[in-house]
Every structure is written in structure tokens, then in C-alpha cells.
Symmetry: C2
Subunit: 470 residues, 2 copies
């Protein structure tokens, strides 16, 4: 008998609490298969008051709470610790679309709404939620905000935090902060919404949010390009950006190695170009203009890049099906790499002009220390964000390769630090990158963060062990 | 003899410390003439190490520090308290442009660079700093960030905080936080830059920043419109936004009353339209596209608004001189109102769809309680941000009218709160709006902010008395 669980059940009802081993197991594992930690129980409140009541009960007993949305973290941000003593609080039942203001372009939703459902709700109202990530079918808004997810449209619309106008948060003592404002301008004290966004659930539980929407684009055009060098990739990026930064919704990089893996391992995948190239880019332009002649813009810039020797070849999607096929290739990079063997993932960023240096130094480092390992780089190069994934040498032992993961990541992070970059561009810290956080973020910065953590969660019950090493 | 001042002079040199009554007086008054408080002394460090050393000395003696940039606060945010015991720390000598990365579109500058100088530095490198406020000739970047200034381009590029990629901050204990990263994506712990941006110097002193730039627009077009109703103003806004949100750089509102005051009181001012209207709007479209046919976009949308009865008349600027004349009218609103007598200023925001309700309710309230008072509303209506200024009745006693300021502002704020708005959209709290902050921001929100303040500035020496009432 677990008295706390009984008390939680008394508040939340039978369906609001799970504690059978089989029921709770999925909440303790992450989709990457990196962690398998058993929660003490799982609570699933149906509303903000239920979240607050559950938090108050846990706080009274000093029991740690792990907020969990779609559990799609890349870094173990939503699984409990190892001790079996932590309560997972799932937001999945709080999935109401509260209000859409088409005139003011705002959307108020609860934390458990999936990103895909939020996109569709906006679309149904004739508006556009400019936020797209691979996990959008499962990822829930509370987690998307708590991890400040990035994705494909960051280039044009910023990270998730840039779309958050207001938040409702249950604090670690169970009080509710109602900050659900929907204002573009509000200079009344500290920007608390920016503190909770990206805090990975360590300062409180986001229960609802107001997001900023954009008008729906009237036309889109996608283009798949082959390029001779990484310098040419940046040259094309700058040409497109300087010509029409407003229309540049995505500029996604795929290295030759990464594309080859996709062609080998993804059923039905084929190169959209006639000849292979050393580097590839997927460009998407979009506009709300009725007279938005995106094709002309694209042809002008591609023509100039071709003349300058910065472009080998380009295919413009001539149908929605082809546009989606381009994106499918990009979105299935991780799958393809999984089938190619064990991989060590680095989600890093540098100033965009430093991307060539990053790739060159990383290649040298790999050749020296991990001969045969394949660098399958891809990502949101317009943001300087590269998924610098390293695949095991063909035929090597996966487990032995994986065992080198921490060492390899530290070597990458050393290069990153030297280039003024970040060791975690969009995936956050979670459990996986705590050591890198302690190593690569200075003492002053960590001290300020720890003071904030202690000020807002003095009992340290809110997602403890994430971001900061215990 | 003042021992602390002697110690500061030993560190900063003779030119780095002012303490003669005549020298320090300007640092204790604000440009609106609301406050005249004498500082104990003024320190003017030339570099970050100097700021840190001065802060350490003051911290050791428990002496309060008031960071000051261009001293253009609308709310007394940069003047010392009344006791004559506080040290003003001026950033004016830290005015170096450190680096511009044209490729990555970032600008690293010191806190004392004026906004105008920063705009020009970006321009010289062929880039655009999309931040513009009336005080840009004097306002310094440190203050602009510390107050999260808004302005004319917020509609398209966000508030100041949205342009801040990195910060360098001297903390209240004199330690230096070097957060001068220039990354678009960096999810490594709490968003400290967003905490210091808008904190009004109460958590530390911003000494340098990395700002995000945009490509330089290739063409601009401005248009002055007369409209029959406030509903029509919003209708035109939505039409332009939905047609080409990316090109809509500014959408500024001027009420008929505000424009009449400008025509009466500004030498040489004239209405750019043939007939007077009830409401006016200044629209600016811009684009980086070479083939950016902004005129066609504008004519299409204006034609549709005319057909729908949402527009009386419009004049498109046919020269750069005329474009600047439109803007001059808009920028001199405050001057015109000053000449019309005493005024009580409200810088408020509501969801954009609620602007008509705000103006109607405010007019009713004024008619009931302040008969004859003139509501001269203008502002950044696309952001829902209205400068709802109230001018004394003609012939009334200015001092008697001004004495009603607090009461009138509270009546406005009651309407604002009811509409889900903010009592300070872009001006912040400073000394002037502390009471409104205590009244209109909930207890939970204030408590979280006070915990953060205590965690980062436990001795309460950093700009004490701002935001929070003592």
C-alpha cells in the first residue's frame, strides 16, 4: 500500500492514477531506448486544478514530480530518475483547444494538445502555427514549450519561445500562475514566460499556453539542390536570405554521406536529382501574397548561384506530392541512420559562418580517433544547427562503438566551444547532457541558474536531476 | 569627504567619477521632468572590468547602484531614489562597436552605444537593425535592452528582447557573466538573456550585447490613410497583414483628435490628405526583394478596403521626403500634445481585436469623470499598443488636471485589466508605475519575481525601488 498514491487517487479519481507495473512501464522509458526507469506512479490530471492538487500533495510529502507530455525527448528529459520514487505527471488528458482568435492571431491551448493537433486547429481557423518538428504527431505543447523546441521553421519564425505569448504554470508549491496573456507588448516586470519556456519542467508544470499564429501562406515552393562544397551551401543560403528573407521558411542541409545512407536504407527513397553531389539542400519558400511569384525568385537566385559555381543542380517540386517527397527524405534521416548501425548523436550549433570549420574539424577528428566512422551531418543549417551524427564503421561492433559515445561527444563539444557554439542547439539537457552542461557552461552562468532553481523550487521536487547534476 | 567616492576614483581615474553638484545634477533628473533626485556620485567606467570593480566596491559597502544609459526612460527607470545615497553608473563611455558579422547577421556592441549609432553601424555593413524608437538618438543599447523597448517595427521583428542573441552582464556581486553567444539555437538551461532583458537594471548591469540583424530592405513604401471608424482601422490592418505580413513593417494609428492637435501645434505640419477623417493610419511596407512590387500590393489592398467602405482616402508617398514627412507627423505627436497643455500618459496594450472596446470605454469614462478632457490616442495599433494620452480641457488649470493623474490612470487600468491588457506595453515600470504593478499583477506573479530578485541580488543594491515598491 502506498499512502501517497491512495491520496492522489482520492483527488484525481481511479482513472487519474496508474500504479500497476505494466501500466506505468511506458512512462519510465524513452523512445530512444536510452533510459528504463520505473516511476512510483503516474498521475493524469484532467485539469489545472487537478495538477495543482497533485503537486500540493507531492510537495507535502517531499516527493519528486516528473512532468511528461508526449515523452519524445531526445535527452531523457521526461523520464523519472532511477530510484523508483518519482511520480510522473502526465498532461495527456489536458488536451483542450481553449480559444482561437483569428483576428488577433492567437491560440490558447492546454499542455496535452499534440503539436499536430495544434497545427490543425490553427489551420481550421485559417491561420498558421509556424512550428514543425519530426515528433509533432506525439509531442505535446507543454513539452514543446518546456524544451523550447526548434525545428524546420525557426529560420523564419524563431524557436518555440518566440511564439509563446502567455503561460499557465503550476508552481512547485502547487500555486497556479495565470500568465495567459495574449499581448504582443507587455513590459511589466521579469519575462517569466521565457523563464519557464526551455526550463525542462524544473521550475514548474506548464498547463496551458497562448501561442502566436501567423497568416496562412497562400503559396509554397520547394526545391532540392545538389552543391559542390559546404562553402557553396552557405553561399546559396546567403543569396536566398538577402533576396527574400521573409519567404525563406526552411533551408535544410543534408550531407552527401547522410543522403547516401537514406538512399541505401530507406525503402523507395530516390535522389531527386540526376547526379549525386557532395552536399544537398532542401529549400522551402512560402508567402501569403496573392501575387507571390516564388518561382521567379527561386529561378533568379538559383541561376545566379549556378553562374557563380555554387550550385550543381536543382529540382523544383512540380507537385504537392513531390514537395512532400523532398521533405520525407529529410524527415527520415534519423530512421535511415538507425538502420545503418549504431550512431552517436550531436545536436550542435555554431554561428552560421563557422559551419564549414565545424564540419572540417569534426571530419579530421573522426579520421584521427575513429577511423571508418561515418559522419552523417544534416540539419537546420540556416540556424547554424547541425545534427552531427556519427555512424559506426561498417561491420564494427555496435556496442563497442556506442561505448565511445561520451568520449566522442566531448571531442565534438571541444570543437564547438572553440567556435563559440552550443553543445545542445534544440534538444536541451535532460539526463543525457548534464555532464556537458557542467563542463561547457561557465560557473557564473550555472550559479545564476541554480539560484533561480532554488528560489522557485526550494524543496527541489520539480523534475530533479534534469539539467543540473544532482 | 566621501571614502567610497575616493575609492571609486582610485579605480576609475579622475574622469571616471563625478561628484560636483553641478556635474551630477543631470543624472538625477529625467527628461520628462517628473523626478529630480540627487545621486551620491556618478561613475563612468570605460570597460567591463571597470564596471565590475565599481560594483564590487559598492557591494562591499552595501551602496545602491543605478545603471543609466541615455536616461530617456518614460517612467523614471534610470534616476536614483530620493535619499541622495545612490551611485549612478553611466555606461556612456562603453560605446564601442565590437564586431559585425555580415554573413551571420549579428552585431556585438557595448551598452553605451546609442541606438542610432547601432543602426548606422549595421547599415554601413549592408545590414538592417530592425529597431526604431523616438528616443533612438540618445537611448543607449544597454537601456534599450534593459527596458525591452518596442517601437515602430515590433509588428514585424518583435520587441528588443527578440533581437538579443547574447549578453554580457555584471552581476550585483561584481562577477561578470559572459553570455555573448551569437546563436539562433541554444537550449542549454534557463534563458538568462531573457531574464536580464526587460529587468530594468534590477538584476545586474548589461555591459554588452549581441543583436540579430536582418538583411537590408531594398524598397520601402509609405502610405497615409484616412478612415471612417476604428473598426475600419482594424479591417485595413487585417487585410494588409493577411495579404503580406512579411512586408508590413509598421502600422501606426493616429486618432482624429491627436492629428488635429498636431496640425494646430506643430509648425509647418499639414494633413497629407485632401479631407480630414475620424481616424488615420501610417502604413509602411518594405521588402528585400528586387522584384518587390510593394506599390501593387498596397493598391490592391487599399482598393479592396475602399470598396468595403473601410477607407476614406489614402496618399502614397511619392518621394523619400514625403515618406519622412509622414513619419515626422507621427513622431512629433508627443511634442504637439505637450504644447496643447498638461497631459496624462497611458502606454497600454490589449489584444488587437479589443482596441475598439478600449477606445470606446475610455471615451465614456473620460466624458463621465473628466468632461472636456481630450483623448489623444495614437500608437502601434498592430501590436494592440495604444498611447492613450489625455490632454487637459482647453483653458483648464494644468496643475489641477495633472493632480488627477493617478486616479485617471487607475480608471484606464481598470478598463485595461477587464480587456486582458497590460498597463505598461513598452515603457516599463520604473518609479512611475510601481503602484500599478502592485495593483494589477497578481500576488503569485509578483512573488515569483521577488524570489528571483532576492536570489540574484540578495543585498538589494541593484537599482532598488524600481519595478517593486520598497
Amino acid at each position: 500500500m502506498d499512502e501517497l498514491v491512495d491520496q492522489l487517487r482520492a483527488i484525481l479519481g481511479h482513472g487519474g492514477v496508474l500504479d500497476a507495473a505494466g501500466d506505468i512501464a511506458p512512462y519510465g522509458t524513452d523512445w530512444r531506448g536510452l533510459f528504463d526507469h520505473r516511476p512510483r506512479a503516474v498521475v493524469r490530471p484532467a485539469d489545472t486544478a487537478g495538477v495543482a492538487a497533485a503537486v500540493r500533495l507531492c510537495a507535502a510529502s517531499g516527493v519528486a514530480i516528473v512532468p511528461q507530455g508526449g515523452n519524445t525527448s531526445m535527452v531523457g528529459g521526461a523520464v523519472p530518475g532511477t530510484a523508483g520514487s518519482q511520480i510522473v505527471l502526465s498532461l495527456a488528458r489536458m488536451n483542450a483547444i481553449r480559444t482561437i482568435d483569428r483576428s488577433g492571431l492567437t491560440l490558447e491551448i492546454e499542455a496535452g494538445v499534440t503539436l499536430r493537433a495544434a497545427q490543425l486547429a490553427a489551420e481550421a481557423a485559417g491561420a498558421f502555427l509556424p512550428l514543425s518538428i519530426s515528433a509533432e504527431g506525439s509531442a505535446q505543447i507543454g513539452g514543446v514549450i518546456s524544451t523550447n523546441a526548434g525545428g524546420n521553421n525557426t529560420l523564419r519564425f524563431g524557436n518555440t519561445r518566440d511564439l509563446v505569448l502567455g503561460l499557465e504554470v503550476v508552481l512547485p508549491d502547487g500555486r497556479i500562475w495565470n500568465g495567459l496573456r495574449r499581448l504582443r507588448k507587455d513590459n511589466t516586470g521579469y519575462a517569466l514566460r521565457h523563464l519557464f519556456a526551455g526550463a525542462e519542467g524544473t521550475l514548474g508544470i506548464i498547463t496551458a499556453a497562448v501561442l502566436r499564429l501567423a497568416p496562412m501562406p497562400r503559396s509554397r515552393i520547394a526545391c532540392f539542390c545538389g552543391l559542390p562544397s559546404i562553402g557553396a551551401v552557405l553561399d546559396l543560403y546567403r543569396r536566398l536570405r538577402d533576396e527574400d528573407e521573409a519567404a525563406l521558411y526552411a533551408f535544410e542541409y543534408i550531407s552527401g554521406t547522410a543522403l547516401d545512407l537514406a538512399l541505401r536504407h530507406l525503402p523507395g527513397a530516390r535522389l531527386p536529382l540526376e547526379r549525386a553531389a557532395a552536399h544537398y539542400v532542401l529549400v522551402e519558400l512560402a508567402t501569403t501574397r496573392r501575387a507571390g511569384d516564388l518561382g521567379a525568385t527561386l529561378e533568379t537566385v538559383l541561376g545566379e548561384a549556378l553562374d557563380a559555381g555554387s550550385l550543381d543542380d536543382a529540382a523544383i517540386a512540380n507537385s504537392e506530392a513531390q514537395r512532400l517527397a523532398f521533405w520525407s527524405l529529410r524527415e527520415h534521416m534519423a530512421d535511415a541512420q538507425k538502420r545503418a548501425g549504431a550512431s552517436i548523436k550531436n545536436d550542435v550549433s555554431v554561428p552560421v559562418a563557422a559551419v564549414p570549420a565545424l564540419l572540417a574539424r569534426a571530419a579530421d577528428m573522426l579520421a584521427q580517433h575513429y577511423p571508418g566512422a561515418r559522419m552523417a551531418a544534416f540539419g537546420h543549417i540556416g540556424d547554424g544547427n547541425i545534427h552531427l551524427n556519427v555512424i559506426q564503421p561498417e561491420g564494427a561492433d555496435p556496442a563497442r562503438f556506442e561505448a565511445q559515445g561520451d568520449e566522442l561527444m566531448e571531442r565534438v563539444n571541444t570543437i564547438i566551444a572553440d567556435l563559440g557554439g552550443s553543445f545542445s542547439a534544440e534538444h536541451g539537457i535532460g539526463l543525457l547532457k548534464r555532464h556537458a552542461f557542467a563542463t561547457w557552461r561557465g560557473e557564473v552562468e550555472r550559479d545564476v541558474m541554480l539560484r533561480i532553481k532554488a528560489a522557485i523550487d526550494p524543496a527541489a521536487i520539480m523534475n530533479p536531476g534534469k539539467i543540473f547534476e544532482p
